[in-house]
C-alpha cells in the first residue's frame, strides 16, 4: 500500500520532474520569450545574443523571415513586410476603417470577415502572421531549454476584447504551442515585481507599449493578486508618438503624400528621434529622400504628444473610480512598456498618482518575466507556491434587446471565471424562434458596441407573447473567453446552443490554415494527432495516479478503487497502441468512470480550505 501523501490541489506532476514552460510577451512592436531556469526567471536570447525579437514578419522570395531579418527586408519591400500585426488581431474587415489608412498593406478583397493581407506568399490573416512570431519564440525556448515545452503563457493587453483574445489563442495553437493561460500584460508585470518584493497593498500598473495602453489596479494580499479594475485603449501607444513626430516632420519638410517607402523612412527617423529625446533635450532628424534636415527639441515633442498622454491619464482616473479608490491609496505605480521611457509620460504619471513610478525592471522585459513565472507555476513546478491570480473581464458583455438597446449581462471588472444568467421572453404570440445577439462594450446602443456573435434559438413551443421563459447564460472562463447559451424553460423543452464568439474566422478557414501550413503534410497530421492524443493520455494517467496516491485510500471504498484501477489498466493499453481515435474515446470513458472521485476530491479540497473556521451562530430558519 502506498503511503498517504498530501499533495497540493491540482498538482498532478510527479514531484521530481521539472516541466519546461515559457512565458511569451507577444507585443505590437517587439516580442520576447522568458523561462524560469534554476529558480530565476530570465528572457531567452537568440543565437546572436538578442533578447528582443521585433514583431515583424516578411514574406520574401526565399521564404518567411521573422524579427530583425524581416525588419531589414522592410526597405523596398514594405508590402511584404508585416509589422504591428497585433493591431489587426481579432479585427474584422469592417474595423479596418477605424484604424485609418495607417497600415501600409494591401488588403485582399475576400468574402471572409477577417482581413487578409496580400503578400507574395499569398493572402495571410493576422493570426497566421502572429503564429510565425510565436513559432519562432517557441523554438527559441525549446533549444535554449533543451526539450519540448509543456505549455506556454501568452500575454495580452488587459483591454483586449474577446475576439482579440480568441485570435491570440488561435495563433498559439497554429504555432503548435499549448496555451496554459492567456495572461493580462499588467498582471504579468505585477507578478514580476510583486514576487520580488512581496509587497502587500494596492498597485497600479501603467503599461504603455508600442500599440496599446493598459492601466490596471491590483490588490496583492499574501500571494493573491486581485485585479480591482482595468482600463485602457487597445489602439494607443508609442507608435502614435512616432506618428506624431512623422506628421510634424512631414509638415516641416512639406511632404504631402508619402509612398510606402517614404512612410517607412519617416517612421524610422521618428522612432530614432523619440528614443534620443528620452535622454537628450534636442535631436537632429535627417531624411535622405526627400532630402531634409531639422531639429526637434523636447518641448516641441512634449507638445506633440501631450494630448495622447492626457488620454492615458483619463483612463487612469476611470480605473481608480471603477476600483473605488483614490490615487493616494495606491502604494506603487509600476511602469511597463518601452514607451514609458518617454520623460513626459513619467512626469505626468508621477503627477497624477503623487509618487515616483517604479522603473527598476527593464520595462521591455518585465511582462515576459512575469509570464514565465506564471507559466512555471501552472506547469506544476512549484507545488508550494501560494501565488494566485484573480482576474477580471475588461469590458461589459451584453445582449441586444428591443429597439437596438443593450442589456448588460456581465458588467466590466467582474472577477472571472463568472457565469450570469438573465431571463427573456417572447414578443409575439406563437413565436418559436429568438435571435440572440451578443455584444461587448459600455454604451447603451447596440450600434456603439462591438458585435461578438449572433445565433438563433429555435424550437420554442408556441405560446402567447410573454409566456415563454428563455434563460440566456453568459460564461467567461479563466482566460477571459466567453461562451453563451440559451435555453427555453417553461415546458421543460430544452434547446440550447453554445457559441464561441468568432472574430470572423470560420472553422473551415482555420482548417485551411492548418492544411496550408507547409510543415504539416497529411501524414504528418496523422502522426501529429496520434502524438497529441498520446501526450494527453499520458497526462490523464499521470494526473489520476498522482490523485490516487494522494487521497485514493481516504476517499474511495475498496470496490470503487478496484473499478478505477481496472479502467486505468485498460486505458494504459490504449495509450500504448497507435489508434488516436481510440485514445480520444478512452479518455472520455475513463473520465466518466472517475467523475464521482474527482468531485469528491474537489469537495475535500474545499473542506480542507475551510477547516478551522466554524460557524458560530448558525440561524436555523435560514436553511
Amino acid at each position: 500500500m502506498a503511503l498517504l501523501q498530501i499533495a497540493e490541489p491540482g498538482q498532478a506532476a510527479a514531484p521530481h520532474e521539472h516541466k519546461l514552460a515559457a512565458g511569451i510577451d507577444l507585443g505590437t512592436t517587439n516580442s520576447l520569450v522568458a523561462s524560469v531556469r534554476s529558480g530565476t526567471p530570465e528572457t531567452l536570447p537568440d543565437e546572436k545574443g538578442e533578447h528582443i525579437l521585433p514583431s515583424v514578419v516578411a514574406y520574401t522570395e526565399s521564404g518567411v523571415l521573422v524579427g530583425s531579418e524581416a525588419l531589414a527586408n522592410a526597405h523596398g519591400d514594405a508590402l511584404n513586410t508585416i509589422s504591428s500585426v497585433k493591431r489587426l488581431m481579432g479585427r474584422g474587415v469592417e474595423d479596418l476603417q477605424l484604424l485609418g489608412d495607417e497600415l501600409p498593406y494591401d488588403f485582399a478583397q475576400t468574402d471572409s470577415r477577417v482581413p487578409r493581407i496580400r503578400t507574395r506568399a499569398g493572402d495571410v490573416s493576422p493570426v497566421e502572421v502572429s503564429a510565425e512570431i510565436l513559432k519562432l519564440l517557441g523554438k527559441r525556448a525549446e533549444s535554449a531549454l533543451g526539450g519540448e515545452l509543456t505549455g506556454v503563457v501568452v500575454t495580452v493587453p488587459a483591454y483586449f476584447d474577446d475576439a482579440q483574445r480568441q485570435a491570440t489563442k488561435d495563433a498559439a495553437t497554429l504555432a503548435g504551442l499549448r496555451v496554459f493561460r492567456l495572461l493580462n500584460e499588467p498582471t504579468a508585470a505585477a507578478i514580476a515585481y510583486g514576487l520580488d518584493k512581496g509587497a502587500d497593498g494596492i498597485h497600479a500598473i501603467y503599461d504603455l507599449g508600442g500599440g496599446t495602453f493598459d492601466i490596471s489596479i491590483l490588490r496583492l494580499n499574501r500571494g493573491v493578486f486581485e485585479v480591482m479594475s482595468t482600463g485602457g485603449d487597445s489602439a494607443l501607444g508609442g507608435d502614435d508618438f512616432d506618428r506624431a513626430i512623422a506628421e510634424w516632420v512631414m509638415q516641416q519638410a512639406g511632404i504631402e503624400r508619402p509612398d510606402s517607402t517614404v512612410q517607412t523612412a519617416l517612421m524610422r527617423a521618428a522612432r530614432r528621434a523619440k528614443e534620443t529625446l528620452t535622454t537628450q533635450q534636442v535631436t537632429e532628424i535627417e531624411l535622405a529622400d526627400p532630402a531634409w534636415k531639422g531639429t526637434l527639441d523636447l518641448d516641441t515633442f512634449n507638445g506633440l504628444i501631450d494630448g495622447l498622454v492626457r488620454k492615458t491619464i483619463s483612463a487612469c482616473r476611470r480605473a481608480l473610480r471603477d476600483a473605488g479608490i483614490t490615487a493616494d491609496e495606491v502604494e506603487d505605480v509600476v511602469m511597463v512598456g518601452g514607451s514609458t521611457r518617454v520623460p513626459r509620460v513619467r512626469e505626468r504619471v508621477a503627477e497624477f498618482f503623487g509618487r515616483e513610478p517604479l522603473v527598476d525592471i527593464d520595462p521591455d522585459r518585465v511582462v515576459a518575466i512575469g509570464a514565465a513565472i506564471q507559466a512555471d507555476i501552472l506547469a506544476g513546478n512549484k507545488p508550494d507556491e501560494e501565488m494566485l491570480l484573480l482576474d477580471v473581464n475588461p469590458l461589459s458583455l451584453g445582449i441586444e434587446t428591443m429597439g437596438g438597446l443593450v442589456e448588460k449581462i456581465i458588467p466590466r471588472n467582474t472577477t472571472i471565471p463568472v457565469a450570469r444568467a438573465q431571463e427573456f421572453t417572447t414578443f409575439k404570440d406563437g413565436q418559436t424562434a429568438m435571435a440572440i445577439h451578443v455584444v461587448q462594450g459600455e454604451r447603451e446602443l447596440v450600434d456603439d458596441c462591438r458585435s461578438l456573435a449572433r445565433f438563433e434559438l429555435r424550437g420554442i413551443p408556441p405560446m402567447v407573447a410573454g409566456a415563454a421563459r428563455i434563460r440566456v447564460t453568459y460564461r467567461i472562463d479563466a482566460d477571459g473567453l466567453l461562451e453563451v447559451e440559451a435555453e427555453e424553460q417553461t415546458q421543460g423543452v430544452r434547446a440550447s446552443i453554445e457559441v464561441k464568439p468568432s472574430y470572423g474566422l470560420s472553422d473551415n478557414e482555420i482548417a485551411d490554415m492548418l492544411r496550408s501550413s507547409v510543415e504539416h503534410a497529411h501524414d504528418d497530421m496523422e502522426a501529429r494527432k496520434l502524438r497529441e492524443q498520446q501526450v494527453e493520455g499520458e497526462r490523464v494517467i499521470e494526473a489520476l495516479v498522482a490523485a490516487l496516491d494522494a487521497d485514493g485510500e481516504e476517499l474511495l471504498k475498496p470496490e470503487e478503487r478496484s473499478r478505477i484501477d481496472a479502467e486505468l489498466a485498460s486505458f494504459r493499453n490504449l495509450v500504448a497502441g497507435t489508434d488516436a481515435n481510440a485514445i480520444e474515446q478512452g479518455i472520455k470513458t475513463l473520465e466518466k468512470a472517475c467523475d464521482f472521485y474527482v468531485e469528491r476530491r474537489m469537495n475535500s479540497n474545499i473542506r480542507r480550505a475551510m477547516a478551522g473556521h466554524s460557524v458560530n451562530e448558525f440561524e436555523q430558519e435560514a436553511e
Binding site: 516541466k19 499574501r222 483619463s314 472577477t415 489520476l544 480550505a609 440561524e619
Partner: protein, 189 residues
C-alpha cells in the same frame, strides 16, 4: 441572476456556509474576503492547469460559484436579496417596483437636480455633493436593513422587500451620477 444548477459539487447549502460565516446581514468583510481567497486558492482553475479536463471543468464551475457567492455577499443589495430568498421571499427585481409616492417624487427631484448639474458654476463640486447625498441615503437603508434582519418577522421581511426596491432606484441613480462625473472629469480636467 442566480446560477442554481450546481448540484454536482456538493458545496454548502448556502453562500454563508460556504465561507463559514454566520447567516447575518451584518457581515465581517475582512473575514469574508480572507476566506474567499482561501477557497479560490484551492479551487481556481489555475490550480488545475495540468490536471485532467474533467478536473479543469469542475474547477471552473467551483471557482465560478465561489465568485458568485462572494460578489453576492459583499454587495449590500445583493446580500439583502439573497437573504430574502433564504427566508423564502423571491423578489422579482426586474418587474416589481415601489408604490411609495413620496419616495418616487423625491426620485424625480433628484433626477432633475442631476440633469442640471452640468450647467452649474462648479459642476465637479456639485456632482461630488450629489454623489454624497445618494450614498448617504443608501447607507441609511443598509443600516435599517441590518436591524430588520435581526428579527425577521413577516412584517419586517415585507419592509426589507420594499427597501430593496427603493435601493435599486438609488443604485441606478448613483451609477448615472458616476458616469456623469466621469464625463465631466474628462471634459474639464
Amino acid at each position: 441572476m442566480h446560477i442554481a444548477n450546481f448540484d454536482m459539487l456538493d458545496l454548502s447549502k448556502n453562500f454563508f456556509e460556504l465561507f463559514a460565516l454566520p447567516v447575518s446581514y451584518t457581515i465581517d468583510n475582512s473575514a469574508l474576503r480572507e476566506r474567499y481567497r482561501e477557497l479560490q486558492r484551492s479551487v481556481h482553475p489555475d490550480r488545475y492547469a495540468n490536471a485532467s479536463q474533467q478536473e479543469q471543468r469542475l474547477a471552473m464551475q467551483g471557482s465560478t460559484f465561489i465568485n458568485e457567492a462572494f460578489e453576492t455577499l459583499s454587495d449590500p443589495l445583493g446580500r439583502a436579496q439573497y437573504m430574502l430568498r433564504l427566508h423564502g421571499v423571491d423578489i422579482d427585481s426586474d418587474n416589481e417596483t415601489t408604490k411609495d409616492t413620496a419616495f418616487l417624487m423625491e426620485q424625480l427631484e433628484l433626477r432633475e437636480a442631476l440633469s442640471e448639474i452640468r450647467h452649474q458654476a462648479d459642476p465637479l463640486g456639485a456632482i461630488a455633493d450629489f454623489l454624497d447625498t445618494v450614498t448617504g441615503k443608501l447607507n441609511r437603508m443598509i443600516s435599517d436593513m441590518a436591524t430588520d434582519f435581526e428579527t425577521p418577522s413577516p412584517d419586517r421581511l415585507d419592509a426589507i422587500r420594499e427597501r430593496v426596491r427603493k435601493m435599486q432606484f438609488l443604485r441606478k441613480l448613483h451609477q448615472e451620477a458616476e458616469s456623469l462625473e466621469a464625463e465631466l472629469e474628462e471634459e474639464l480636467l
